[in-house]
């Protein structure tokens, strides 16, 4: 027989009646039932997984699965049809939200592609330049005692007072002090400062440049210097009796006198005569020449490395 005992609540201090305890067997059976149901479900699921996983596609379980799926298919289609307008509306709305970020992404991609196009064009131009340099290097007019060393221009004149560039080859590549630098169009200048992997080149247009030159047609000699303006050059010290005409090609003289020799090999194109004039009071003719080299946009050049030791002053 059950007992209805009373006890005092610890907090309130009032007597409370304890509820009658339930029969122990009822609670136990309820928990047992729960566990049995769960156990059976888990077991069934595991059996299904095992069979489904190990069975071939044409096995009985897959056949049943396919059959039931086939039965439910019309329902799925119906639900899909009903939901389609809502899905479309949702897609349209999200599309609107995505449009801005998509436009931003496309803008970024566009900028990137433009950059790539510029890089490609630059590479193409560089390729063309290098090919032309190689053609020149293998041409018969290329100085025989030198080997060409292709170099990229890595720095250009920062001001009009400084007519010098920096190229990407140095002593480690065999470049020597005062080495001539050329392009297919003609003489560019000479190496003035050298380190292991770079060299500074003084351009022909620099105030300090001076190159012994001759008229290819008449052999009239002189010294090419920087002219009055821009890239203009003059052939100085041409005697009055020497014959020089407009359009004549001026090339390096490449003289040698005993152990002394010119820094430039003979036969490198410098430019063409654009003006010849003389005053009675002048000692020499005034000869202006124009180089085909665009000194303001040099991208690649050839540094001439001598096969023989460079000439030295005694």
């Amino acid at each position: 027989m059950q007992r209805n005992r009373t006890a005092k609540s610890a907090v309130l201090g009032i007597p409370v009646r304890r509820p009658a305890s339930r029969p122990f067997t009822s609670r136990t059976s309820s928990a047992l039932r729960r566990r049995i149901v769960l156990g059976l479900l888990v077991l069934a699921a595991l059996v299904l997984i095992t069979i489904s996983f190990r069975e071939t596609e044409g096995g009985p379980l897959h056949s049943v699965q396919g059959a039931v799926a086939g039965l439910l298919q019309p329902l799925e289609v119906a639900v899909n049809r009903v939901a389609r307008p809502f899905e479309d509306a949702y897609d349209w709305t999200t599309g609107l939200f995505d449009a801005r970020s998509e436009a931003e992404t496309l803008r970024r991609e566009n900028a990137l592609l433009q950059q790539q196009v510029i890089q490609n064009e630059s590479a193409l131009q560089e390729n063309v330049d290098l090919k032309r340099l190689l053609e020149y290097a293998s041409a018969p007019s290329f100085p025989a005692d030198y080997r060409p060393l292709a170099a990229e221009v890595i720095a250009r004149p920062t001001s009009a007072f400084e007519q010098e560039i920096v190229v990407s080859v140095g002593s480690a590549d065999g470049v020597q002090q005062n080495a001539p630098v050329v392009t297919r169009e003609g003489l560019v200048g000479q190496v003035t400062i050298l380190n292991e992997h770079a060299a500074r080149v003084r351009l022909l247009t620099d105030e300090q440049s001076a190159v012994s030159a001759v008229d290819l047609r008449t052999d009239a000699g002189g010294i090419v210097r920087h002219g009055q303006a821009g890239d203009a050059l003059v052939l100085d010290r041409v005697r009055k009796d020497a014959v020089v005409s407009v359009g004549d090609e001026i090339i390096t003289a490449g003289w040698r006198s005993g152990q002394l020799a010119s820094l430039y090999p003979k036969g490198i194109t410098i430019g063409r005569v654009t003006y010849v004039g003389q005053l009675d009071t002048d000692l020499y003719q005034q000869v202006q020449i124009r180089s085909d080299v665009d000194f303001s946009s040099l991208d690649s050049v050839l540094v001439l490395v001598g096969r023989k030791p460079a000439p030295r002053l005694p």
């Binding site: 339930r22 609670r27 309820s30 039932r33 729960r34 149901v37 769960l38 479900l41 888990v42 069934a44 699921a45 595991l46 059996v47 299904l48 997984i49 069979i51 489904s52 996983f53 379980l61 699965q65 396919g66 039931v68 799926a69 439910l72 329902l75 799925e76 639900v79 899909n80 939901a83 809502f86 899905e87 949702y90 999200t94």
Partner: protein, 175 residues
């Protein structure tokens, strides 16, 4: 649980499976999708207890496996355990607590994702852990919390809460 309740639960789960497989599976928001079947299951389990939850989970999961032509029993196993756990939670510590449903959704969604990943891994299927356990799960959690309110309201209106017939005695004494 009487026959009417059983019918309502079956219908709820059936509709949820159909909607999940056809509509909500493609409702992609930030890489996640709402799991309406899970929400219905949690609602049913909280209102009708662990046994009903387990059976509903097993049935719903099996139906989903059939429709999606997945390995049979895989989702059934996960949802049966989820239904059972949610039901026990509702019968014991969660009963009468306002946050019980939210907590159940959070815990169940995480456990379902983990169990799903683990089982698929065991079966040798290629699953990205980052995708399944971070990206999809976080977005899915948020969506489940948003969709939870209307789904639970529907479940509550169809399945009236019962008096505490299966209320755990030990919890009542301690609580």
């Amino acid at each position: 649980m009487n026959a009417a309740d059983s019918g309502i639960v079956a219908a709820l789960v059936f509709v949820a499976v159909l909607l999940q497989a056809t509509v909500f599976a493609s409702f992609d928001v930030l890489g996640g999708t709402p799991d309406v079947l899970l929400l219905v299951l949690i609602g049913v389990a909280l209102l009708r207890g662990s046994v009903t939850g387990a059976v509903a989970g097993f049935g719903g999961g099996l139906l989903l496996d059939v429709i999606t032509l997945d390995t049979l029993g895989l989702t059934a196993l996960i949802l049966a355990l989820t239904g059972y756990w949610t039901g026990r939670y509702g019968e014991t510590t969660g009963r009468g607590r306002s946050h019980a449903a939210i907590l159940a959704v959070l815990v169940a969604a995480i456990l379902v994702a983990l169990a799903g990943f683990f089982l698929h891994f065991l079966l040798g299927e290629e699953v990205s852990a980052r995708r399944a356990l971070v990206e999809a799960m976080l977005a899915g959690l948020g969506l489940n919390l948003i969709f939870g309110a209307p789904v639970f309201a529907l479940c509550r209106s169809l399945l009236r809460p019962r008096a505490g017939s299966e209320r755990a005695v030990e919890v009542r004494l301690l609580g």
